[in-house]
Structures are given as structure tokens and as C-alpha cells.
Symmetry: D2
């Protein structure tokens, strides 16, 4: 069965595999204290124009989120996230398991803004309630949408004014920064956030996320917490060398752009057929509302996630393209879909 399930269903991009093979015979220092991690960190700091930032490599998104959040919050402090936020929904209570509430905000397009955060601050007015302290957003969001430069800066200014940390989950940062509508740069992320991570797992890496801590106070003793939570990889260089490869020659953003391009063709196809979308298609995830009579035929041939029913006669299906999706995959789907429509 063909798959548009997700963007992490192939082992790794060939260049990353090659990079690993190239160093297979070398001995390296353990726990991320090796020259590849150092080089990759240095490369990232140049890329984001933020020499004072600190970079840590962790093996996955959930452990990156929980480690950073557990490290920076005091016991009574809480996270603010969109109702659709990954930490709020899809990490099995990982943040709560470290002791912190995730306050969720109802919002549009999966995006937080000062307007939706302000009432939460107002409500949390004394010691009988948790103290909101960290604003968690993801870019791209869980719904495939992206933050504009203006939106990100507004959040930054609001967080500064209210002594909140701003943290960006960048599991799909490559797709966000390479989206057609995007006007956010790596340097903006360094400038506007206390920390963000550059996601590898969904952009061609075996595993691995590069956490960038821009607020130096939050970096203090951070390696202790990485170790405590189980994210300090003995063979850290395996993460370092992958990021080095991804970030050289712009491969990272190219893979993001490719993912978006493949998905964009699907979105265009659906739009031409007059289908609507549950969320505006901006990156590599397309949430399209499919008439119910077509759903089975599609899911019989293609692996996709169903995301509820927007109305009585449609089902929202998520088509997710990746760095490994080929133009041929898209053409085949178009063929399949046109046949289906004509039946």
C-alpha cells in the first residue's frame, strides 16, 4: 500500500547514511562531547546568527520538549499551548509527568497569539492557580500552518512584556521555513525565542533534534537534565554528524521545500476538484475534507490518517508528504484519484 501517512517512514536520507558510513571506523568521545557535535553546533550558531546560543542534540521530539520544559520551569509554573499542541495532546502527559500543567488555549489555525494568551494570564492571578510561564508553539503547527514573522515577533514582544519564555517545537521547522508563504528566518528564531529545536526525525534523520537555547540563563546545567531524563546519547556523534550533513549546503531546507512541494501538488489537485480543507494547506500536511463515499476507495489504496468529520457527509483525511515522496508518487496518486472521480 502506498503511504502518505507521515514524514518519518524511511530510515534516513542517503547523504546522512553516507556521512555515517564515512566515520564508521573512527573512535569518538561519548555523550555529545565529540568533534561532530561541536562542529554541528558551531554551524547552527552561524546559521542562526547567534554565537551566544547553546546547542544540544537529543534523540526525539517528546524527550526534547519534556527535558527543556522540566529544566526551565519551577514547580508551580505551567505551559501555555494551543489546544492542538503536541505537548498538550500527543505526548501521553509527558509534561505533566515532570510536574507541570499544560494550559490549553482555543485558537485559530493551531496558532497562539497575544490575544488568546492574555485572558489566560488574567485568570491566573494568585497562588491558588498555577503560574503560566512558558509559551509553547510549534512551527509548522500540528495543523500544517505556519507562523508569519509578524506573528512570531508579536508573541516575542508579548512574552518579553509578561516575563514568559517562548519556546518553538520545530519538529517540522524545515517545512515551515521553506513554505511558500514563509517570511521567518533561522535568525528570527534565535532572536525571538528563548529556545527552539530544529527537527531532524521528520526531515531525513535516523532520529535527532537540535535544541537551540538562546536565553543563556536557561542553559545553565542543562546537560544534567538531559542525562536525568534519559536523552544523553552515549554515541552522540551520530546525531551531530547528521545535523552537520543536513545543515551544510542547505540540504535541510531543500528537504522541507521538497516535502511542501509534493504535498502542495496534492492540495492543488483537491482544490481543483472543489474539495475544501479543514486547515489551510501551507506545508507538507494536507487536511482535506473528502466526501464520505470516496473515503474507503482512498484508504484501501493509500495509508493516511483520518481526522474526524467536518460535517455529516465528509471525512477529513491527512495527506502527509516527506523528503522521500517522489514526483512519481504524486503522479500515481493523481491518476488514481482522477480515475476515482470519474467512476
Amino acid at each position: 500500500m502506498h503511504s502518505f501517512t507521515n514524514d518519518y517512514n524511511e530510515t534516513a536520507h542517503p547523504q546522512l547514511l553516507e556521512a555515517l558510513l564515512n566515520i564508521a571506523k573512527q573512535k569518538n568521545g561519548g555523550y555529545g562531547l565529540d568533534s561532530y557535535c561541536e562542529l554541528a553546533a558551531s554551524h547552527i550558531k552561524t546559521l542562526i546568527q547567534s554565537p551566544q546560543s547553546h546547542v544540544h542534540f537529543l534523540p526525539g521530539g517528546t524527550i526534547t520538549n519534556l527535558t527543556f520544559i522540566a529544566h526551565v520551569l519551577r514547580p508551580h509554573q505551567a505551559v501555555i499551548a494551543a489546544e492542538s499542541g503536541h505537548v498538550a495532546v500527543h505526548e501521553t502527559g509527558a509534561i505533566e509527568a515532570t510536574g507541570h500543567k499544560v494550559i490549553t488555549a482555543r485558537c485559530q489555525a493551531g496558532k497562539l497569539s497575544p490575544e488568546v494568551i492574555k485572558p489566560i494570564l488574567d485568570e491566573h492571578c494568585d497562588e491558588h492557580m498555577v503560574q503560566p510561564k512558558l509559551v509553547y508553539i510549534s512551527n509548522t503547527t500540528e495543523l500544517g500552518t505556519i507562523y508569519s514573522h509578524k506573528e512570531l515577533r508579536a508573541l516575542h514582544q508579548f512574552c518579553q512584556a509578561h516575563q514568559l519564555y517562548l519556546y518553538v517545537d520545530g519538529a517540522r521547522l524545515a517545512m515551515a521555513l521553506s513554505a511558500k508563504d514563509n517570511d521567518v528566518t533561522f535568525a528570527d528564531l534565535a532572536k525571538y525565542t528563548d529556545a527552539f529545536y530544529i527537527g531532524g526525525t521528520k526531515v531525513g534523520a535516523f532520529a535527532g533534534e537540535a535544541l537551540v537555547i538562546n536565553n543563556p540563563q536557561l542553559n545553565h546545567d542543562f546537560r544534567f537534565t538531559i542525562k536525568q531524563k534519559g536523552g544523553l546519547m552515549a554515541k552522540g556523534w551520530i546525531l551531530g554528524v547528521q545535523f552537520l550533513t543536513l545543515l551544510q549546503n542547505n540540504l535541510y531546507l531543500e528537504l522541507g521545500a521538497h516535502s511542501n512541494n509534493m504535498a502542495g501538488q496534492l492540495a492543488e489537485l483537491f482544490q481543483q476538484c472543489g474539495f475544501s480543507f479543514s486547515h489551510q494547506p501551507q506545508t507538507n500536511q494536507i487536511f482535506v475534507n473528502i466526501p464520505d463515499h470516496l473515503v474507503k476507495a482512498i484508504t484501501d489504496h493509500y495509508d493516511v490518517y483520518a481526522f474526524g468529520k467536518p460535517d455529516d457527509v465528509h471525512t477529513c483525511l491527512r495527506f502527509c508528504a516527506s523528503w522521500s515522496t517522489t514526483q512519481d508518487d504524486i503522479e500515481k496518486f493523481k491518476c488514481f484519484f482522477n480515475n476515482l472521480q470519474q467512476k
Copy 2:
């Protein structure tokens, strides 16, 4: 200033003070292993017609909730509560601090029902999300409303069918069980819940809540968790003797009925003036919508909590009566209020 702020602003009911004085010269065993706690527990088990239940005395509501919930949930399991639930809002993330998410449900009159819980179960379908396991309700609710026998039984049956624990926060259980509209008995609570607590602090005790665990499996090793969380009082008999006094001769429900009666007179007064209520007045908390031009005059003379604005020209004020509110307090308010109205 006169006070309708809350139901815990006086030290203790005279009969409880007297009971404590009576035993002042005795030596007792520590940590709740004394004859008064034993007698009080025995009395409770008779009252609720549940000899196999277990009773523990703890010093406050938050520590009772967090200790019980931490004890019975496994790491990946979560609480379901109303959006207005005390554990969800007003315990500074106490439940999350023990590692568990509190999933909140939007609901009417502050009450959960199978209808609002079912979609939450449906959404939490795999290991990427927490596993809902304990349904937390309070009776009275935070909004002063009460559960009917039918509603409680429906929750019980639903929880049984879905392997959920049902837990009742009874901080104001006296007010609930003595409300005019009530048809729930102590025995129903034993029959329909896995655990509930009989609140003392808001019903004339210095401090103290009697936690009743009806599901014997959940009681196993419970004293370890009480100690660990800091709720095992060295002089436990002080809690025991208060509950013994409260539950003899029906004092507990009488204090609840008195609180409701005092508040009910206020509700009647407001109703006669044509004021509306944010929540149906059923017990000792009255959430009345006061025209804005009267608010200052009232709050200048009476200590009450403001609970937001139902519309542009009204403010919701909470009037809370207690066991120590007197008929004279009510008459004085009526006087004050009638004068105010006539101005």
C-alpha cells in the same frame, strides 16, 4: 466589614471546640492510630452503610485530592474533571505535580455526565495520549449546584462500564446532602463511588476531611502515600474527634442545612428584586448578577467574591453563607439591601 466571603472564616463550631477541650488531658497514639479516629471511622461506615469501606482523616481538601489521586493512578493515567473543577483550576497544579494530567470537559452547571465524558474517552484512543482513568466530580460543585441520585448513578454505571474510577470531592458534602432538591444519601455515595471525602473544613471543623475509600483495592498501602505527601498528622485524633462530633446527632447535615437556609434567604431576596443568577442557587453559594451601579455599594459593606461579568451591565457576586452565619446577619443584609434598592 461583614462577610459572605466563604464558609471557613471562623475557627470551629462550639461543639467541636468543646470536644477537643474534653480530651485535652489524654494521651493518644500518633498518626491516626488512636481510638477517636477508629470510632469516627466506625461511625462513618455505619452512616454510609458500607462496613467494608476504609476511612482516613487528612488535614485539607487539596492534600486529600492529590494524595488519593496520586495513590490510585498509574503514571500514564489521567483525571477527567469539569472545566470549573477544583483540581483543574484552584489547586496550583497539585495533580500535575504528582505526574498526572487533568483533562477538562466543558459542561453545564459544573457537572460531568456520561455525555460529556464519552467523547473524551473516544479521543484518547492510543498510547500517544494519556489514558483517562479517574472521574473527579465535586458535590456541591464549585458552582454551588448538586448532583441528583439519577445523575450520580448514571456516572457510576458509565464508570463501571468503562473501567473508570469515580471520585467525589465532598468539601461541601454537608451542603449537598442537606439541600432542598437533594435525593442523594451517604449510602449512595458509598455504593456509587470508588471514593469520596466528607469535608470538615467548610462545615465547622478546624481542619480535616474524612476520605472514604469504597473500592478495597484502592486502599492497599494508602497510609504510605498519606505519609509521603505530608498529610499524616502526628496528632490525628484531633481530626478524629471532630468528625466523631460532627457525625453524631446529625450535626454535620444540620450545619449544611443551616448554611443552605441562610444562603437561600439571600437568593430569595435577590430573586424578588428580579436579579438573575449565573448558576442556579441550590446550596450555600449564591452567584447573583448584580447591576454594576450597585456593586461598589455592596462590596464597600460586604466581603464577597466577584466572579466576572455575565454581561456589560452586571457583575456576578458570590454570596457564601456558612454554619456561623446567623439569622441576624441575614436580616441586616436585607435591611442594607432594601435601603440600597430604594436609593
Copy 3:
């Protein structure tokens, strides 16, 4: 049966009961924000000559320890305690339950010193190990011994030099500060520690400990953590008024001195009989090594704790005197014991 079990087996000292009765008809603000807590705090700050300190009243020793420690440590930081320390042994893992390791040191007389702490710091040298951050001592210790001024100052200087917090569990501070050998003052505690608590439960209070935070940074947002852990008493004034009474007219230290005096007479008696002690008798707990053939006769008539066997023919029994032990109790024991010896 007569009891030398512990120092918390009677409800409360008569002056404290009276103080509570005197305010029984008053209405007070909730959660420790009342005039009695304010007055008691002010009184304490005068007593310890530290106007910039902050005082909080909590209902018991375990919850005071766990709340303070959870509040001030970051996730990777640990407590250092004596192997006999209360937090290490007798709080059911309360500190670990908030996420922090308790590193234990083997030491003499239950007392920590720079000499036993230094090697622990040396061993904990990188991020693969927890970071020792808070030195927990109790005065009196669990073994009834006390810290001298010189010992306390040495710990203070060592902690300052190594960026460690120094915290004193003062469950029996009254006994320590009123011991015959004592040369530590309340002001020393304020000067030399980051925080300490003045224990009430074992010195005549219903319940209650007064936590004094001398390091202002550690006080920030502390009430949030009190509430979260379940220690914020709705009727906080009940704790406040007790401490106000205890600390006026020197009652607190008098009760400590009385407890020590009563126990001291027992120690003298045992010494005259040629018995040895497992720990030097300095305060109100006497750990005496009783020949095995006398143990049953004693424990048949007196409630005391057994603390293991120092050798094959002796058992260590703890005799604990309290504010409520009378000279008559002592005389009766002397009589009983002399009879026993003569058999």
C-alpha cells in the same frame, strides 16, 4: 500504660487551647493572610533579629520539608543528609517523590560536618550524577544530639563557599535551643541558614511548624508551592495564633527546657545505674542501652520505642519526655525502676 513514647501525644498546651478559644467568635481571612499569622511572623522576625526573613506556617514537619526542598531545588539537584536524617529515613520518600535524591552521609552523633560533606561534593563531579545543593540537618538531631554554635557556623561557611543551601529541620528546635550544652541562638539560625523551621507539633501545638526563609531569593513565589503541595491551611490563623502564644513570654523555650529537664532526670537515673547510652543524652530523647533481662518488665509498663541492639545482651530503648511530662511521672518511673533493679 504510662508513656515515654514521644512528644506529641497530648492535644495541646493549655495556653494554646485558651488562645484558640479566645478567638473562636472572630472571622478571619483565609490561607494564612490574617492578622494572627502576620503578628506571629513579625514576632518571629524580631526574635531572630532578621527583619528581612519571611515566615510561613505549615501543618507538619514532612510537608514543610518537602515543600521547601521542592521549591528551591532545580530538577537535577539533590539533598545531603545524615544517614539518620528524617528526610532520608522517616518520610516515606517524600523528597524523592518531588523528584530529588537524598544523598546520605555516614556520620557521628547524627550530625553533618564539612568533613563528611566534602567527599560527597568531590564524588559528584559531572552531569552523570546529581548535583548536591541543599544540606539538610535537624537540630536536635534524630538522635537527640545538638549542634554547637561552632559546628553550625562551620557548616554555614562551608555551604557559602560551595554554593550550597543550609536548611535546618527544627521539629525539636525548642529542645535544642534550651539544652544545657546549647550555645546557638535564634539569631544564629537566621544568620547561618538559608531556612529553618520552628517546630510546633512537638512543643505543645495542635499542629504546625513555622518555616523561616532567610535567603530572600528562595522565598520568591513560595506560597504557590505551599498551595500545590497541599499545605496551605484554609484556617491558617489557627497556626498563627498558636505560634504567637508559644513565642510570647518565652513559652516555647520553657517547654523545650521542661522536656529536656524531665528527660535529663531519666538519663541521670540510668547513668547512676551504670547503664550506657547509644547516643549522648543532650535533650528530651534518651537512647539508653537496657540489659535484655529488664526490657520486658519496662515495656510492659511503659510505652517506649526500641531502637535495635547495641550488643548481644542489651537493647536500646528511647525514652522521650515532653512539655506534658510531669515531675510526678518522673518520680513514678524512678520508683518503678528502683524496684525493678532491686528484684
Copy 4:
């Protein structure tokens, strides 16, 4: 510089790299629900002769330990470990961070036995202390020693008799099971333990440990906790395919035997020179006591860890061999060392 630092300083064994390359073009299901994980699990269950066991693949030792322990213990329960145990010393309080105390036992050769555990159980007698529930051992131990069949069975029987779980950290299980003195089999581990893990990181894998849960009750909902703690790898098959490769054709034990063999030659060399050992050399870690005047010369040329000083004139150095250590490496060291001796 030559390295005998550790056994995880090269990327991966060539066969594992090859296996990964072979599947590079395939699409796989996420989160360990793929055919390679299924096959590897099935292979392991055959190998250990325990079809009812459950196998989970996690990315590292610390996260495996903390996830399993957090999953199976109730809040008041504790781990018993040797004072040198990895969870006790070198995981930055990972277990405590999930809420559980690690009780340490002083013991010989880094090994627990019923004799050292029994007094711990005796001391932990009531709810004022944690409840010991899980016995953690590692095989090989942190000191390079191994458990005999008789020792393991004795622990099993003791744990069964006292309702304790027995858990084996198998970071270096390959070295233990392939040691010259070993008489323990994979099947013994399945039979005698509630759970154990087969370590991959130190035996040629990129990363990865295979946790085997033999007690079916402990497996219930385990994937929830893996996800919550951050150990559920999106591309789980990368772990699965490595274990499939390691366990086919006995590669796993061969790599263990090779590591032991290389280290054994070093031990022999040291013994011939009359050097003593801090711990009996049984596997791939050699703790040899080197005369102080030779230490610098060695550490100038070889990367090794220093482990304290057994006496005033010796330093204990750890020489650790691995799957990637070659006979040539050993010969060179012999040469170097003989030269050194002759100087």
C-alpha cells in the same frame, strides 16, 4: 591517543551498518510497530525460551531503566540497588526524578544477595518508610563482575518469597553471558527475572536496548509509559533491525566474548607483572591497581578512566575493551607496557 576508555566509542558494527543500508529504501510503520521489531522480538523470545515474554526497544540504558521502574512501582515503593549500581550513582537521579527512592546496599563485588537485602526489608517496616519493591542488579555489574547461576537463582527465590520484582540491567549482558566463568543462560534470565534488558549500545549498536518483560502484569500499558518518558522512537525499526542482526548467528555473544578476550589479555599481562586488581577481572572491564609512578606514562598514551586510589602508592585504572578492540591494539599495548616496565 589510543583508547581503552569505554565500549561505545565506535559508531556500529559493520554487520549492523549493512543491515541498515539494506532496508534504507523501505517504508516502515512508526513507533516500533514494524516488521523488524516484530521479528526481533520473536527472535528474542525464542532465544530466551519464553514465548509469553514481551519485548520493547528503547534508545538507551538510562531511559530503559527509568521507564521500566516508573511503570511498575507505585508511588511509595522503592528500588534496592548496590551502592555502585548505575541507577544509584550514574543516572543523575533519573529514578528519583520519577518519584522513587533508590535504597543502596553495601555489598561485595558490586553484587546484591539475599544476605544484604534482608536487613533492608527488616528495617523498612511501616508506612513512615518507603516500601522496597524492586531489586535492581546489573550483569555484568558496574565493576565488571558477573552473577553466577546460583546467585541469580537465589535472588529470584528471595524476591519471590518477599514479593519483590527482580530486574536486570543488561547494558553489558553480552559480556556477562560470554564470560569464561559464566553459567547463566538467556533462558535463566527469562525464568528468574521479572524483566531484564539486552544491551545494544555497548555491543555494537548505534543505540538501543531490548527490554524483555517476563512478568506479564508488568507489561500492561507499557507503551504508554515509553511514550510519556520520551523513549518511543518514531523510526523504531532502526532498533529492531539492529537487534535482529545482533541476535542472528550468535553475533551478540561473539562480540561479548571478543570484548572479554581482549580485556582478558590485558588482565593477564597485568597479573604477570604482579599487579593487583580492585575488582576481580571477569569480563571486558579491568580495574587494575597501577603503581603511581607509571600512571602518567600510561594516561599520556592511553585514554582510560581513573577510579580512585586503593592505597597511597597505587591508582586504580579501568581498561575497557570492546567489540572494536583488535588483537593489534592489544599487542601494541603489550609492547608499550613492556617498554614502560623496563624503563
